[in-house]
């Protein structure tokens, strides 16, 4: 099933989220970071969901993590692997597992960020086996 790739739809950025998408297009995954909590969070936003502080910024993730759970969407053409990946920085994020046979995907598998084209040619983060 590998080989044929999904075309990623573009959802418009909202005020404040543009840096995330600009970074993704440059091959970087950004996380939210709360300075008072000293913790990362995902998705990035203008307040920390743990303490509601606005003393937050976006920081680059190492782009490495572990598959928390996944599922293969069979009726889709092509079928795709949706997953949550727990990043080494702590937060978990929804993503797709790509560049591999869906049947080989396992919970606990180490993965790394890869960047795939969207409909408009800009890029979005996905994960592939490390």
């Amino acid at each position: 099933m590998a080989g044929e790739e999904r075309i990623y739809p573009v959802v418009p950025a909202t005020p404040g989220s543009e840096p995330y998408w600009e970074a993704a297009n440059a091959g970087k995954l950004l996380l939210g970071y709360c300075k008072p909590c000293k913790k990362s969070y995902y998705y990035p936003r203008g307040v920390c969901p743990m303490c509601l502080s606005t003393d937050v910024e976006m920081r680059e993730s190492k782009g490495t993590g572990t598959i928390y759970t996944y599922s293969v969407m069979r009726p889709a053409k092509p079928p795709y692997v949706i997953a949550y990946v727990t990043l080494d920085e702590g937060p978990s994020m929804m993503t797709n597992i790509v560049d591999c046979d869906p049947a080989s995907v396992k919970i606990g598998q180490k993965v790394k960020a890869v960047f795939k084209p969207r409909e408009d040619g800009t890029k979005i983060v996905c994960f592939a086996p490390a």
């Binding site: 999904r6 990623y8 739809p9 573009v10 959802v11 418009p12 950025a13 909202t14 989220s17 998408w21 939210g32 913790k39 969070y41 995902y42 998705y43 936003r45 920390c48 969901p49 743990m50 928390y68 759970t69 996944y70 599922s71 293969v72 969407m73 069979r74 009726p75 889709a76 795709y80 949706i82 997953a83 949550y84 727990t86 990043l87 702590g90 937060p91 978990s92 994020m93 929804m94 993503t95 797709n96 919970i107 969207r118 979005i124 996905c126």
Partner: protein, 391 residues
């Protein structure tokens, strides 16, 4: 302030249709409203409170639907928590009635996704881009089926739950559906039928998924004095609870349990009853895994033991310890508007009144629970629990 015993469900009506290509959404709402009002022995102008979910009543704040039905209202609440909305509405109606804001509340649900050709489970639906999570999730193709599938996958990994155990939920629902002349899938199925049906989203098979149907339902909730003046059996609301579960910035992601862990505790505490007191349970069954997780969350079994709990017919009326969804549930009967909370309350009311089908009626059914989840167990959702007692 507790609302225990301050409200009664005196009317309940489920639309018999499962496919309504020639009936409008508003007409379905009106038909179920009429059904519930007549079931209660009331008339339209007795209604002074209206509860509906914004998502299945397009137009601002329920106004258009109040107008369509000509309701004269002094209280309106259009809280939308997806499929659990109507369980939430029972709690909110009890609160409004206890506070004197209205006397007789109507709750309606209707939907026609089947006629509209909505591929609810497998086709991701684009929402409003201002929904803050949408841009970070929608591109990855979250449909309904693969979101619940990810819960099942993790539950299996963490607790050893099996596809055969999940299948027992469907088997039990089908045993009940065979007696429901309106059920979409009245055929009794086996564990083998379920696990041999095609995979939709691993590990969920086609028969692990609920049906897509048109239809609807309605309830009438009122205060004790009025309930006791009517001729219907008395179904008293003794405990309600709601809770929201999300991800806390990805720091709290745990797909092995639902908000039912919290809403259930609140409802049980208010009702002052124990699990052994519950004779019948309506449990939202969008997928088989939904039932397994919610039974654990509500405390009917230990965390991680839901698979074992549902096995061997334990949910079949007259066979197991906890009869559930005796109308066939969302898995076999119907799932009007992709929102299953309403029919959960309606079947619980039937059981408490002794009006369920004789083949599935639970003996001496004096206390029942209805629970549902709205939104997605795979992302964020609202759980709502209602405990009712026959008086």
């Amino acid at each position: 302030m507790s609302t225990k015993g301050k409200a009664y469900i005196v009317g309940a009506y489920e639309h018999p249709t499962r496919k309504a290509p020639d009936t409008s959404l508003a007409q379905l709402h009106a038909e179920v409203a009429k059904g519930a009002i007549e079931d209660a022995g009331l008339s339209k102008d007795d209604i002074d409170g209206y509860f509906c979910a914004a998502g299945d009543t397009p137009g601002l704040g329920g106004n258009s639907f109040a107008d369509y039905m000509g309701l004269r209202l002094k209280h309106i609440d259009t809280t939308d928590t997806g499929g659990s909305s109507y369980l939430v509405h029972v709690g909110h109606a009890a609160q409004a009635i206890a506070a004197g804001k209205c006397n007789i509340a109507l709750v309606t649900l209707a939907g026609r996704p089947r006629s509209e050709g909505v591929q609810t489970g497998t086709n991701p639906r684009m929402g409003n881009p201002s929904q803050p999570d949408l841009q970070f999730e929608f591109p990855y193709g979250p449909a309904t089926a693969n979101m619940y599938a990810m819960c099942a996958m993790r539950h299996m990994h963490q607790y050893g739950t099996t596809s055969e155990q999940l299948a027992w939920v469907k088997v039990a629902a089908s045993h009940h559906a065979q007696y429901n002349p309106h059920a979409m899938l009245p055929k009794v199925v086996t564990v083998e039928d379920v696990v041999n049906s095609p995979l939709v989203a691993d590990p969920l098979h086609r028969l692990d998924c609920c049906v897509i149907s048109d239809g609807g339902g309605a309830l009438i909730v009122t205060k004790p004095e009025i309930a006791k003046s009517l001729k219907r059996p008395l179904v008293k609301v003794i405990g309600t609870g709601e809770a929201v579960k999300h991800q806390m910035g990805g720091q709290d992601l745990d797909l092995t349990f639902s908000a039912g862990r919290w809403s259930g505790k609140r409802a049980f505490e208010e009702a002052g009853v124990k699990h052994k007191d519950i004779k019948y349970a309506s449990i939202y069954d969008s997928f088989t895994i939904t039932v397994v997780m919610q039974l654990e969350d509500l405390g009917f079994c230990e965390v991680g033991q839901g698979g074992k709990f549902v096995s061997d017919g334990n949910l079949i009326s007259g066979v197991g310890k906890l009869p559930f969804n005796t109308d066939g549930g969302g898995l076999c009967n119907n799932h009007p508007g992709n929102r299953g909370g309403m029919t959960k309350v309606i079947e619980a009311v039937r059981q408490l009144r002794g009006e369920a089908h004789p083949k599935v009626q639970v003996k001496n059914c004096d206390i029942a629970l209805a629970h549902g989840t709205g939104g997605s167990l795979g992302t964020r959702h609202v759980g709502a629990t209602v405990i009712m007692e026959r008086e």
